[in-house]
């Protein structure tokens, strides 16, 4: 299974990933619409990240009432057109890696940009990378 990996020793917290994610998916700049999130808990600390890891037993797929989330090609995929914005999946994800779109119309979940993630491509210091289990 492919997912986006992270090396906290290389991450500088520039959030280029969040900007690239929101601009490539939504056509605007807005970290609140990014599918990947960076933060740190304390001054000077290393950054942490969160993004869908396309887990083997995705609870989000089980709870989705309209099959907007489904497994295909070893990935958890998302069909925006089907999503009814109930956000049951947001609460079900044990990793907290599904986000609510600020306009409350649908969810924000990593789709690996179809296989070649934009955030990985533009990470200035290769802190993000594509890994396969």
């Amino acid at each position: 299974m492919k997912k986006i990996g992270f090396d906290p020793d290389k991450c500088t917290g520039c959030k280029t990933c969040e900007l690239m994610c929101s601009s490539s998916h939504e056509g605007i700049f807005n970290p609140a619409k990014s599918r990947i999130r960076l933060w740190r808990d304390e001054f000077y600390d290393k950054f942490k990240y969160n993004v869908c890891c396309h887990c083997a037993e995705p609870e989000c797929v089980d709870v989705c009432p309209v099959e907007a989330l489904y497994v295909e090609d070893d990935q958890v995929k998302f069909n925006r057109d089907e999503c009814i914005g109930c956000f049951v999946c947001v609460d079900s994800c044990p990793y907290g890696a599904i986000y609510t779109h600020p306009d409350l119309e649908y969810i924000l979940k990593c789709d690996l940009c179809g296989g070649s993630p934009t955030c990985v491509k533009y990470c200035p210091f290769e802190a993000l990378f594509l890994e396969e289990d």
Binding site: C14, T16, F29, N30
Partner: protein, 608 residues
């Protein structure tokens, strides 16, 4: 008009009134944003002669049309106000992500007027803006303040705040966001005088741009340039300049009694990386990551930096040869909200006064102001920030300290219009000689830039012919940068003067069709507006000067031995510079030029 959030927020701390206005396209086309809007509002809203620390002063904090995009350092914010240190126009810029979040909250700018009766902070959560009580935050240092606000709100907020230095109205108090400073000219004291402890912001709205596809293509073109030309900044950050500038013979040392420091290698980029470096950090939307998180070895202190300017001001200027001390002092300045440059040069002034035997009648609170005294540096900063003992005197800055001390001490008070200069020599770099002397802020290295002159041999540095134009061109670039708002440290990759790169950034973001000439005119208009603010306060040619030492004492030794900037030379450069700007022979923007720039109304308020 894309790029802009579209609203300007007005907060009156005297009345508690909060209102918004649409960002006008007419103003955007004339002043772009950031410090451009700041210069316009400051001129229009702050009456002549207003007390910088009174309710009449205006405080502008904001972003620009490029803020919140993925362009270089587009999280950078600005603040504009009338300075309590210089009595003139002041702008500052600061890294982090505060300004990006302000845009995401839907605002291009915050214009703050009046004065609160008791401590408050401004809380912005998208459209919801409140003036909140800050009595419990008053007295806290900048880290405690930010942590407390995080507890009260959430970690998604970004905060711009003061510590005790700002509360105590230290004339060079700065404002801190995250671990970054909006450093120069006492903006923190203006916060303190308004009893404004902090501004905190969260936003979830979009920043829309006109031509994302074109911006993406341009971004791809620039990535290799950031990687290659900014590699030094990525590796060592600005501290690498300590060794470079010292070897070129223009590192201010012992309060500019010398321009080479014997122990530069003990406080420079090399030792910091080798023995103190923990990790690299970046501001929002930055591919360079010049920020170095360094730790002290003898103390739990961790700090962002110290940057080159702090190593010069607190280090070589005070004769301090110990990196640990400088890390602790830098951290202390940030916690207290003090500008490291002015703090360092205020202490180095005391040290030279002590050396010359001029402090015999002063109560020095038990401190020994001998150059190189590490403990004195730390204690003097702490006392200045906390308004205690001899710190009350040091908190005045070098111009006022010399006024009060007398005894010819003005000859070694190192400031321009009251603002202590950065570590780019006003003697060894003629661009900075003219650049500092005409700077609207005073001793700022982010008006004119030294970038075109470093590395040149003395023979070329001595020539003044091209230097006023260098100062004009580089100041137009930095003025644009602070209006846009983007970080100046991309200049190696995208241009140390205005270039087509910047034209593309603006046009692709906003959807305009500006030419390089038109963009240059915007920068020129902003700079002249700032100048007009100062002229209305009485600034003329007589004020466009350098510290006495820079104009009368040549650099004593080293590669640039003999260089200085005597009055005749400065006069020649001033004439050339005024002509480039369309200012008259007395340094006042001419009516004709103001009308050409579309700000003719300004002339009515100036004395010719």
């Amino acid at each position: 008009m894309k790029g802009y959030a579209g609203k300007i927020l007005f907060v009156n701390l005297s009345t508690g009134e909060i209102k918004t206005e649409d960002t006008s396209e007419d103003m955007a086309k004339k002043f772009l944003g950031g410090v451009g809007f700041g210069a316009k509002y400051l001129f229009d809203l702050t009456p002549k002669g207003a007390d910088p620390l009174g309710p009449e002063n205006t405080l502008i904090v904001g972003a620009g049309p490029l803020s919140g995009t993925f362009l270089h350092g587009a999280g950078r914010g600005i603040a504009v106000t009338k300075s309590p240190l210089t009595g003139g126009y002041m702008r500052g810029a600061f890294g982090g992500d505060f300004a990006a979040k302000l845009k995401y909250a839907g605002f291009d700018l915050i214009v703050i007027t009046g004065q609160a009766e008791s401590p408050v902070y401004i809380h912005i959560d998208d459209n919801k803006v409140e003036i909140r009580d800050a009595k419990d935050l008053w007295g806290m240092d900048t880290k405690e303040t930010q942590k407390k606000i995080e507890e009260l709100c959430s970690g998604e907020f970004s905060t711009f705040c003061i510590g005790p230095g700002g509360e105590n109205l230290v004339r060079y108090a700065c404002v801190i966001h995250d671990v970054r400073a909006c450093g120069r000219g006492g903006t923190g004291a203006v916060f303190g005088a308004k009893r404004l402890k902090a501004i905190t912001v969260r936003g979830t709205k979009d920043v829309e741009v006109a031509h994302l596809d074109r911006m993406m293509k341009h971004y791809d073109e620039l990535v290799p340039a950031y990687r290659e030309k900014a590699a030094g900044l990525t590796n060592l950050g600005t501290p690498a300049l300590v060794e470079v500038i010292n070897s070129q013979g223009s590192l201010g040392t012992f309060n500019y009694q010398q321009e080479q420091f014997e122990h530069a290698d003990k406080i420079g980029g090399g030792i910091l990386k080798k023995e103190h470096w923990k990790r690299n950090d970046a501001c929002f939307a930055c591919r360079v990551a010049c920020t170095k998180i360094d730790h002290a070895k003898s103390d739990p202190a961790i700090t962002e930096g110290p940057e080159y300017e702090s190593l010069y001001a607190l280090g070589s200027m005070c004769g301090i040869d110990d990196a640990d001390t400088l890390i602790i002092a830098d951290r202390l300045c940030d916690d207290l909200s003090l500008d490291t440059i002015s703090a360092g040069l205020s202490v180095s002034f005391m040290m030279e006064a002590n050396q010359k035997g001029l402090l015999k009648d002063m109560d020095l609170s038990g401190l020994d102001f001998t150059f190189g005294n590490r403990e004195t540096l730390i204690k003097a900063i702490e006392m200045a920030g906390r308004n205690e003992g001899v710190g009350k005197f040091i908190a005045l800055g070098t111009r006022e300290m010399a006024n009060r001390l007398g005894q010819d001490s003005y000859k070694f008070a190192i400031n321009i219009k009251g603002l202590e200069p950065a570590g780019h020599s006003g003697r060894g770099l003629k661009t900075m000689s003219i650049g500092y002397s005409v700077s609207n802020r005073g001793g700022s290295h982010h008006d004119a830039r030294p970038s075109l002159e470093y590395g040149l041999p003395k023979a070329q540095r001595d020539v003044i012919d091209d230097k006023p134009k260098n100062a004009f061109d580089t100041a137009n670039w930095t003025t644009f940068g602070d209006a846009a708002v983007i970080c100046h440290l991309c200049e190696k990759s995208t241009g140390v003067i205005l270039t087509e790169n910047y034209v593309r950034w603006v046009n692709d973001t906003v959807g305009w069709d500006l030419t390089l000439e038109e963009l240059t005119e915007i920068a020129d208009r902003i700079y002249t507006m700032e100048r007009a603010f100062n002229c209305r306060e009485g600034v003329t040619r007589k004020d466009d000067k350098l510290p006495w030492r820079f104009m009368n004492e040549p650099i004593p030794d080293g590669p640039l031995k003999g260089m200085y900037c005597p009055q005749e030379e400065l006069d020649t450069m001033l004439d050339m510079y005024y002509e480039l700007r369309g200012w008259n022979e007395n340094g006042i923007p001419s009516k004709k030029r103001l009308e050409e720039l579309g700000i003719g109304y300004v002339a009515e308020q100036l004395d010719y």
